[in-house]
């Protein structure tokens, strides 16, 4: 435990030094300040809300509908933009560990390689998770105070966002230990992130494909790769308190993350530095 704490603390220290943590924290704080001071919500008789931004009045809508809709917008922005930023920022943290001159000293310590890499993985995950929780919990409290709507769906959405980052981080880890390059790690992770919304249109694309093998190939990629797009739909359903049709995107993405992380650890174990 002592060693895990040291590795996590080191990741936080590096995130602070590289201004990664403060960059995220600043963006989240700006969002919260926007919600707190710029967006005014007037609730009339506890049922109808009028939202105004920079003094411009919008239309009046039932507060029970308005709050989850607004929360889902925030969750989607965080899910797509926040993830892209988190991947961009985290790639360097993973690659830094395997830098020549640094890795030799780490490996000479009485710590297993799995422990070393998992310590960095957990530390990196916690850096991003702390900011996600800060933004979502902060937004949830502000909405709750302004509207007295305290639905937990928005809070639960933070777990999905952290989960998808954990999966993307496993890709960064694998590419990082394979090629020591944060640039390649970012490229591959972004490619997967941007490919999955296309794959999510599987049913439509299948109709356009003429051969069976190409349809099978499409299905293969759809089922194997993480389903960021489908999970964003699940998040929206959870926030809007609507039933989720299928949890397959979540568990198949989890399997992908576990397999990729395992491959990263396996490669790290076998690699000579």
């Amino acid at each position: 435990m002592n060693i895990t704490i040291a590795l996590v603390r080191d990741t936080f220290r590096e995130a602070f030094a590289r201004k990664i943590f403060w960059g995220f924290f600043g963006c989240c704080t700006l969002n919260l300040l926007f919600l707190m001071f710029i967006m005014r919500i007037d609730v009339v008789q506890g049922a109808i809300a009028t939202v105004s931004v920079f003094g411009q009045n919008g239309r009046s809508i039932p507060v029970q509908n308005m709050v989850p809709q607004a929360q889902s917008v925030i969750a989607m922005i965080l899910y797509f933009m926040g993830m892209a930023l988190a991947v961009f920022a985290s790639a360097g943290l993973v690659a830094a560990v395997v830098e020549p001159g640094r890795i030799e000293l780490l490996l000479s310590k009485p710590v297993s390689r799995t422990h070393l890499l998992m310590g960095r993985y957990i530390g990196n995950l916690l850096v991003v998770a702390a900011n996600i929780i800060y933004l979502i919990a902060g937004s949830w409290i502000i909405f709750g105070i302004k509207t007295n709507v305290w639905g937990v769906g928005f809070l639960v959405s933070s777990l999905f966002t952290i989960f998808i980052f954990a999966v993307l981080l496993s890709i960064l880890v694998l590419v990082g230990v394979l090629w020591d390059s944060s640039a390649v790690a970012i490229m591959i992770t972004f490619a997967i992130m941007f490919l999955t919304p296309i794959l999510a249109q599987k049913n439509t694309i299948e109709k356009l494909l003429s051969s069976e093998w190409s349809r099978n190939l499409l299905r293969f990629f759809y089922y194997v790769l993480p389903k960021t797009s489908d999970i964003s739909v699940i998040i929206r359903h959870v926030i809007l308190n609507q039933p989720v049709e299928s949890w397959m995107p979540v568990w198949s993405t989890a399997i992908f993350g576990i397999v990729v992380l395992f491959l990263g650890l396996w490669r790290f174990q076998r690699r000579s530095f």
């Binding site: 002592n2 040291a6 220290r13 602070f16 640094r102 490996l107 000479s108 009485p110």
Partner: protein
């Protein structure tokens, strides 16, 4: 308690190029034994395979064949590395840490608890000659010499029984090197085994009792420094030697130096030296000194690496 701090058996590392498949045999069947409590120097020209050997010893690089034992345990097991302190060559310490943070981090990885680290950190930082101001200074602001010192501090913080140092004097001024040598001597007296990988032959000769020389990935020579440097010649020094006698002695000598009336003659054998003494005495010359000669470690190194001719130059 095993007799050897380090024991390698047929340690071999072959690197293969990804595309061409070309092989590079960085270490080839190296077997070395380093007794507990000794000071051992590993020497070799650039690219000889010294760093690869050290990396295999610490399990940073996986051997293609053979194995490395540290105090009788296979170094691939994390627990086997607990008694090791290591200072790498070309280290890249995290520049965002202060000296204190760095020792705290590596101390924790070495298995020290928080209380032990808290007590030990200022002690070792002071021991390696870093003042209070440097304790809380970021490593990014450290000079090369200070980085070597803090690197040594992280290597000894947990009280290792084996210290593996890769070019410890690199970037350190002569005063600093002497200080580091004194620290190492004090550790040696406490029974710590010291394994030194260095290009500075004079440093190794001053400090190590045993050496091994690696050449092209193979173990070329190993033994005690005093035995390896013990020469077979005899040096006689005399003054005011008559010219005819000097010529006679020169013809028998391996080498000579004549300067301001003082003659130093080096003979290859004891018989030649005894005959020279007889000649000098019979001609009424005083023998100022007579001593067995020693080679320097550099002579031994050059002879091993480049052949006997190189040592004579």
């Amino acid at each position: 308690m095993p007799d050897h701090a380090i024991e390698t058996e047929g340690l071999t590392k072959v690197f293969r190029a990804s595309f061409s498949g070309r092989e590079l045999r960085a270490c080839d069947n190296i077997s070395i034994r380093v007794p507990v409590g000794s000071t051992f120097g590993l020497l070799g020209p650039n690219g000889a395979g010294k760093t690869t050997f050290v990396k295999m010893l610490l399990s940073c690089t996986h051997p293609t064949a053979g194995r490395a034992l540290v105090f009788g345990q296979d170094s691939r097991h994390p627990a086997a590395r607990r008694p090791i302190g290591y200072l790498p060559e070309n280290h890249r310490f995290p520049t965002y840490m202060t000296g204190r943070d760095m020792l705290d981090f590596y101390g924790a990885l070495s298995g020290m608890d928080a209380a032990a680290r808290h007590k030990r950190i200022p002690e070792v930082l002071n021991l390696v000659g870093l003042d209070d101001r440097a304790h809380n200074l970021r490593l990014g602001k450290y000079s090369k010499g200070m980085l070597q010192r803090v690197g040594l501090a992280q290597a000894i913080i947990h009280g290792p029984k084996l210290l593996v140092l890769d070019e410890p004097g690199d970037g350190v001024d002569p005063v600093g090197r002497k200080h580091i040598r004194e620290i190492l001597h004090s550790l040696e007296q406490q029974g710590v085994t010291i394994f030194l990988n260095s290009h500075l032959l004079s440093e190794v000769e001053l400090f190590c009792r045993e050496v091994a020389i690696i050449q092209k990935g193979r173990l070329a020579l190993s033994g005690r420094v005093d035995e390896l440097t013990a020469g077979s010649g005899y040096r006689i020094e005399s003054e005011h030697v008559p010219e005819a006698l000097e010529t006679e002695l020169r013809s028998r000598a391996r080498s000579f130096i004549s300067n301001n009336g003082t003659l130093q003659v080096l003979f290859a054998s004891r018989t030649d030296a005894n005959q020279a003494v007889d000649l000098l005495r019979s001609n009424g010359c005083e023998v100022e000194s007579l001593a067995r000669t020693r080679s320097t470690l550099e002579d031994v190194f050059m002879k091993t690496v480049e052949g006997p001719e190189a040592a004579k130059q």
